[in-house]
């Protein structure tokens, strides 16, 4: 294996190898359904001195996690069975090791690192070995995450919204009363800010089904929600209508302190 020896030297040369023994000896778990990529990534990591465990799906990942505690998990987004996003949410809620997501779709990345999951970093396929090693080392240097619970509290314009407590507080510290349907709708917008949502999408996300063609109930709830939000922060115009039948939350959503 003269090639791999050559490689190892190269990574060290290219990346100013300065990892401590703790980093080098770290255990990394790869969850990836493609056997070749799994093997190749494993080889790259082993060449760097990491201990590598590999799983092809959620079930075998759980089996490994029952046995060992990895220092980092590399997780593919598209997996058979339970997909990477759902695994990521699950791991983020219960574990403290950092998660590196691998995605074959650049447009998935927003969702991966956005509000939906707790991924710490991501790589878009295809990636080179050096990129991978650099990310892994950087993440290991940062160490395990300190805050474990996911707090779903967001600042939306002048409002602070707590999705778990289902509470909205305006800048005068007064709560805004919304009906259950209105809050679900607002939560749907907050989870997808600055994105045009069609009536069909909203209905699918809030009720889990497609609307009837003549069903105007979504529009009615939207207009009620807009009235209430307008009263709370006049002129903010949080939700606007877009020409071909969609709605849009115009402000940025940031995690609230």
């Amino acid at each position: 294996m003269c090639n791999s020896a050559h490689l190892r030297v190269e990574y060290r040369a290219g990346y100013g190898y300065n990892g401590s023994m703790a980093e080098t000896g770290a255990t990394i778990l790869i969850v990836e359904d493609d056997p070749v990529i799994r093997r190749l990534v494993g080889e790259v990591l082993r060449n760097e001195g990491f201990a590598v465990e590999a799983a092809e799906n959620a079930a075998s990942m759980d089996a490994i996690l029952a046995r060992i505690q990895p220092d980092l998990v590399i997780l593919d987004v598209m997996l058979p069975g339970e997909d990477g996003l759902s695994i990521c949410r699950r791991l983020y809620a219960h574990e403290r090791f950092p998660i590196l997501m691998l995605s074959a779709k650049a447009d998935e990345i927003d969702r991966v690192v956005g509000l939906e999951t707790g991924a710490d970093d991501y790589l878009v396929k295809p990636f080179g070995p050096r990129e991978l090693i650099a990310r892994v080392r950087a993440m290991l240097r940062r160490g395990p995450r300190t805050q474990t619970p996911v707090i779903r509290r967001f600042t939306v314009g002048h409002l602070v919204v707590d999705l778990d407590a289902r509470q909205i507080i305006d800048d005068h510290n007064t709560a805004i009363a919304l009906t259950s349907a209105e809050f679900d709708l607002f939560a749907c917008f907050i989870q997808r800010p600055r994105r045009v949502l069609t009536r069909d999408q909203i209905c699918k996300w809030t009720r889990g089904r497609m609307p009837d063609p003549l069903d105007r109930s979504i529009d009615m709830i939207v207009s009620r929600l807009r009235r209430k939000l307008d009263r709370a922060s006049p002129g903010a115009n949080l939700i606007t209508t877009v020409r071909n039948g969609g709605y849009l939350l115009t402000v940025h959503v940031t995690p609230a302190p």
Binding site: M78, A106, P126, L214
Partner: protein, 423 residues
């Protein structure tokens, strides 16, 4: 032809109103035909009249005549026997005459005639006496030597054209109903076609997405293996080839989504996306720079569009400028409606007669083909289709070759996109 629901409802209402109309006319006809039987002199009535008149004195005869006269029937006596000829070919007079004969046969029979005195609607009508109402004149020779003349008037239930009342209405209703039916059928067929087309388009995009995913898997394997190539130059070339393949794939996928109107719509800070692309190139040591002017400097360049697509537009223009024009000088300007991005290079420029053509797919400038710059000639075409999917425009002009840096003066590509305005 696509009918809105309002038009459909209007057609349904029209159809039901027409049906109600036809129904009313039919009811009128049924009731009218009941009474019109009475307006025709019943043969039995006439026979009874004959018997009465023959028994009565002249004074009583006048009283009897008065008593039976109504709007539908007048009876009078003429002295002397004056009979007409019952036409053999007309059914109503013939049948009436036969019935009168039967009734009068008990009294020994009387000479009689039944003729049509007036046909409603005239000759222009349908001409069937059993359809077209007629006035009949019955003449019966009495035993007293007088003639009983009974004029039976029929209600005018034909319209001015001589066809029965409601006939035109029914016809109109039927025709309208037929039209509505055809329109609905066409619409159903059109909807089916639309559904099939959208399935087809979505299917193709899904297939492209699937192919893209699988190709990326193979490219990932390849990319991981390529690092084992010992020769550095070969390795760099292989990595560049993989990047080119990937770009082609992404371009095809984005362009097909743009063509099918399947791009995402979100609020994107255009200047921020441009800055990120320029920073990427700069950190890779490429000669790219960016100037932000006008309203764009205040951070008001929000565009409603697909972030990936916009990034691809900028990347294609910048990389083109870097490959064919040595450097990329970007500037962003904005007014209240549009944001404008200029990408200037320092290359030889693009001749005016080739500016339109170079925005088409697979078209490359002749002299660039000879150089070893690679590329399929899709970059600008994809950029154009993506910009146009955002209701924007893309144009090629000469970069302003100012006196200060006369080395510049290559091509200028201008992208103009409408800004998002909240309503």
């Amino acid at each position: 032809m696509h009918l809105s629901s309002a038009v459909r409802i209007a057609l349904v209402i029209l159809l039901s109103v027409t049906i109600a109309w036809i129904g009313t006319v039919a009811l009128f006809y049924l009731s009218a035909s009941g009474s019109s039987r009475n307006t025709r002199p019943l043969p039995g009535q006439v026979a009874a009249l004959v018997t009465l008149l023959e028994r009565a004195s002249p004074a009583e005869q006048q009283l009897i005549l008065h008593a039976v006269t109504s709007q539908a029937l007048t009876a009078r006596l003429e002295t002397g026997i004056h009979l007409g000829v019952t036409p053999k070919l007309q059914r109503v007079p013939r049948l009436t005459a036969r019935a009168v004969d039967q009734y009068l046969a008990a009294a020994g029979g009387r000479p009689n005639s039944v003729t049509i005195s007036r046909e409603h609607g005239g000759k222009g009508g349908l001409g069937f006496t059993f359809v077209t109402p007629v006035d009949l004149e019955l003449r019966v020779g009495l035993a007293t030597g007088d003639t009983l003349v009974v004029d039976a008037l029929s209600y005018p239930v034909a319209n001015i054209l001589g066809v029965p009342v409601g006939f035109v209405a029914g016809l109109t209703g039927a025709v309208l109903g037929l039209i509505a039916l055809l329109a609905l059928r066409r619409e159903v067929a059109f909807n089916k076609l639309q559904v099939r087309l959208s399935h087809l388009v979505r299917g193709r995009i899904a297939m492209l997405g699937g192919i893209s995913h699988d190709v990326r898997t193979f490219l990932t394997r390849l990319r991981l293996r390529v690092d084992r190539i010992p020769d550095e130059e070969e390795r760099e070339r292989a990595i560049a080839d993989i990047a080119d393949m990937l770009r082609l794939l992404d371009d095809a996928l984005l362009a097909s989504r743009a063509g099918a109107g399947e791009l995402a719509e979100e609020l994107v800070d255009f200047a921020q996306v441009v800055r990120a692309e320029v920073d990427d190139r700069r950190s890779a040591g490429k000669p790219a720079d960016l100037q932000v002017a006008g309203a764009a400097a205040n951070g008001t360049t929000t565009v409603l569009g697909d972030r990936l697509a916009l990034r691809r537009v900028i990347a294609n223009l910048v990389d083109n400028a870097l490959v064919y024009g040595k450097a990329a000088h970007l500037s962003i300007d904005a007014d209240s409606e549009f944001v404008t991005l200029n990408v200037d290079d320092e290359g030889p420029g693009i001749p005016p007669d080739q500016r339109e053509a170079i925005l088409e797919p697979f078209v490359r400038l002749e002299d660039s083909r000879n150089r070893r710059t690679g590329g399929a000639g899709l970059g600008l075409a994809v950029a154009r289709s993506l910009v146009e999917a955002h209701n924007g425009t893309i144009a090629i002009t000469d970069a302003p070759g100012s006196t200060a840096d006369s080395a510049r003066g290559g091509a200028r590509l201008t992208v103009k996109l409408p800004l998002f305005v909240a309503r």
